[in-house]
Each structure stands twice: as C-alpha cells, then as structure tokens.
Symmetry: C2
Subunit: 270 residues, 2 copies
C-alpha cells in the first residue's frame, strides 16, 4: 500500500498535465472528499481504470462546490509513457457520463507542478439579468432580477486593481499566508447570452484568496444596483475588515477559465 | 367534462400569448403525449394549478424530442382576467423544477392564434467543433470532431434561399400540404462559445417542413467537411427526392429562436 502511494508520486514517473473542463453542479467542489462526489475524485477514479492506483492528482485551483472549470489544470504521474492525446481519450471514455472532460494533455517535466508552477489564474463570473428562471443555463449563471450599471461597477472595480491587502474580500476560512495580493485585471462587460443579457466579470491575478472573486462580484453587484457608490468599494478595501465586504455571491456563476505558466504547456494555449 | 373542454376553448374567454423557453432534453418534444413528458403537458399541468382544467394550449411550432425553445410562442384561454405578468410568475412557480420558463406574456385578441397568426419562424442550430465531450453544453449542441469550411457551407446554403420544392429536405412523415416553401434566410457564422468554436446556423422562413432545418444542417455539414461540394446542395434540391438529402443531423442542437407576428405581441420583441 505504502509502496503504491509512494510510487505514484515518485519523481521518476512520467508526469502529464491535463487541462480540465467541468460543470460543477453535481460536485462538492474540486477536492476529493470521503463521501461526496468531487472532480478530483472522478479523474482519479478514471486513472485507476488505466493504471493500478491509488492516484493523487494536483490542481492549479481547488474550486468550491458548484464552481465550474473551463481551463482548470491538473497533473498526474503515471507508470507507462502515455501518449498525451491517447491518455485524454481514455480518461474521457472512463469519465462518461459525468460532466468532466480532459480537453488537452501534455507531457511535462518531473519538477513541473500544476499549482506551484502556475503564475496566473483567470476567472470568469457570469450574471444573467432576467426575471424568468434560467432553463438552458440553470446552475451556470447567477441570476438577478434587475439591471446593472456596468460603468459604475467598472469604476468601483478599478479601485481594486494593483497591490492591496485584500482582507475585506477574503473568507474567514482562507488559508493563504498573506492577504496581500496583486490584482492584474477586473474587466466587466455586458454580452448577449442565449437566454438574455449577461454581465461577465473577467478577473486575473497570480493567485487569489479564498472567496475573493465571489466577494468582489457580490460587492460590485451592489454598486451596479445602485446601493453602493463606486467609492464605497475603495472604502471597503481600505477598511481591511471582512465585515466591510458586500454580500458574497453564489458560486455557480464562477468559472476557473485559464491557468498561466511561464512556458506554454498546451497546444490549445499557443 | 364536455362542458369543461368546451368552455376552455370558448372564444369568449380571455386569451393570453406566452413566450416560452425550454431545454428540450428531458422532454419527448413539445406535443402532449400519453405516457411521456412534454413541454405542452408541463405548461398545461401548471395552468391546472391556477384554474380548473382541462387546458389545451396551442403553439407556433411543435418541436421534436430534444429540440429546445428560446422564443416558442403558445396561447392559452383562461376564465379569469389575469394580468399577463402575474400569470407568467404563477406559471413559472408551478413549472419548477422543470427547465421550462415563461419569459413573457401578453393579452391578445380572441381570434389571435399562436400558430395560425404567425408569419415567420426563426431557428438557431448550434454545432460545437471539438473532440472532448461537451460538459457545460451537453445535449444543447451537436458536437463534431472536425473543422468546417464556413464559406463553402454558406455557398451551398445560398442555393436553398427563395421559393423551392423542398421535397429533398422533408421527412417522410411530414404532414404539410405542400413541399413548396420560401426560405428567407440561412446564415452561417462561426462564434466562440464557452467551450470552444461553434458554428451557428440562423434559418428563417414563414413556415417549415418536418425535419427541414435538421436536413439542411446535416447536408451542409457534409459540405463543410469537404465530402460534398456547394453545388451538390443545388443538385440535391433539384432532385426533389428525399434520397438525395444528406444525413439528417440530431435534434439537440436545434432551437426555435423566434416567432414573428404581423403586429408585435410581446414587450420583449419591440
């Protein structure tokens, strides 16, 4: 048993990076849990169909319950020298019918790590603005009943750009060593979705605190609705106090869109 | 019983037009069936929660199994003078958790008919071009593994525009009186979807034959893949022979997008 677990993580084994897409709805988040379905667990179970386990994969971001992946990245160590494309095909076969797909795979060096080598994470948050319940995008958007002032939200968002102590926008269970982070992008746009007008938040940084994006979006929604002024966002940031944060919005509108590495890993990234 | 059924369709009762959105996945199509779930049945059941039934609603287009609605239109006759907005709210409440939503409602004249007053139907067909299985849009796109030549497909599609005998593109069970129809639009574009490149077909006509859009898309996909030339589409049309049609594509990429009437019915249309 110990040997198996050790062998699985041995640096001598070929390492493969996986780009993973998933609908977070049926999962209690990315991370493997004892009695609940998880994306990590689904992929590790599929790996066990290909090579004797146990398998332990590492991901760039451990998404919460209901949060989706578009370009999540994980890596696995295997005994055999798999052709990356054949591995992704085999995994997709065994992942069916779960809404998880390996959309790309690449051989990486033994010291490359999906989480620790990553230098950038990009999230997308989708709001659907309409009263009637979502049908096509149920569980994939945060739905609100009122219009949002995009310009006011962007003005508020601009206060968050750059290097700050983000204590206000960090959940109480966040395990990061420091609340000081640099936010590189927070761009807000209105787009026409299949079912109505949507607001998309594009958020990019080297790394994020727990619940940071959902705290941003929940706060900025209050600005868009007119309850907060754009300047209130700056005051909240400067307060460095969790109590100053707006309401944290639900996770099912959130997508881990892309993970950046110093050298491009996947063909689909270049 | 007879009285109830008669009263339900009496021309003296207030008539309300409903704009309906639905995910076709869990339904055996629009039309009510004895032992299978249908969109019509779901809405009629919801109406029975508001006023004693039976209720029979009429729709602009009876979509097949797995086909979706974005702007399907139906009408119902009710005993009470409902405020259209309150009616849509009450129906949406009773439709939960099914993926059916009344996205707009409007009072119409007694002689207005969702199907017979309609002067235009518009369909959207979505193809997702990628190898890995769809996760977010599973059951809502037709997925293919190869690239498509948009220009060649559009050239082939242009042969179909205008007044033609569409026998080639009509299913054997089609009940239309004549195969002669006028196709007003067949526009093809590539768009970037959440999960990869998509091809969208926008198809518009006064009315359609059974399986006409799916026969068009299945045939044009062959052109996009290079198996057919654009001119082969003209030959197939001129053959006026069902056997000359390309493969009929699956229904789950198809959406009834919009129904047009001589006078705008819904606020969301103007």
């Amino acid at each position: 048993m110990l040997g198996g677990r050790f062998a699985c993580n041995s640096p001598r084994m070929p390492r493969i990076a996986l780009k993973v897409e998933y609908n977070g709805k049926p999962f209690a988040g990315w991370q493997r849990q004892k009695d609940q379905p998880s994306v990590q667990g689904a992929i590790e179970d599929a790996l066990c169909k290909l090579e004797p386990g146990p398998h332990t994969i590492a991901a760039a971001g451990r998404t919460d319950t209901g949060v989706h992946g578009l370009g999540q990245v994980a890596h696995c160590d295997l005994q055999k020298e798999w052709d990356p494309f054949r591995l992704s095909e085999a995994l997709n076969h065994h992942l069916k019918p779960l809404p998880v797909a390996i959309v790309d795979a690449a051989r990486v060096d033994e010291d490359w790590h999906a989480r620790f080598t990553a230098v950038e994470r990009q999230y997308l948050f989708r709001i659907l603005m309409r009263r009637a319940p979502a049908t096509h995008d149920k569980g994939q958007v945060w739905q609100i009943n009122h219009a949002l002032d995009i310009e006011a939200m962007q003005e508020g968002a601009n206060h968050l750009l750059g290097l700050h102590d983000f204590t206000t926008f960090r959940s109480s269970i966040c395990q990061a060593a420091s609340p000081v982070k640099t936010l590189d992008e927070l761009r807000i746009e209105q787009v026409q979705g299949l079912s109505g007008p949507e607001v998309h938040f594009h958020v990019r940084a080297r790394s994020f605190l727990h619940n940071q994006v959902r705290s941003f979006v929940g706060t900025l929604e209050r600005v868009g609705a007119g309850s907060w002024t754009p300047d209130d966002v700056r005051s909240a940031l400067e307060a460095q106090d969790r109590a100053a944060c707006g309401p944290v919005c639900p996770g099912h509108g959130l997508y881990l869109a892309r993970v950046g590495y110093p050298d491009p890993v996947f063909k689909t990234d270049s």
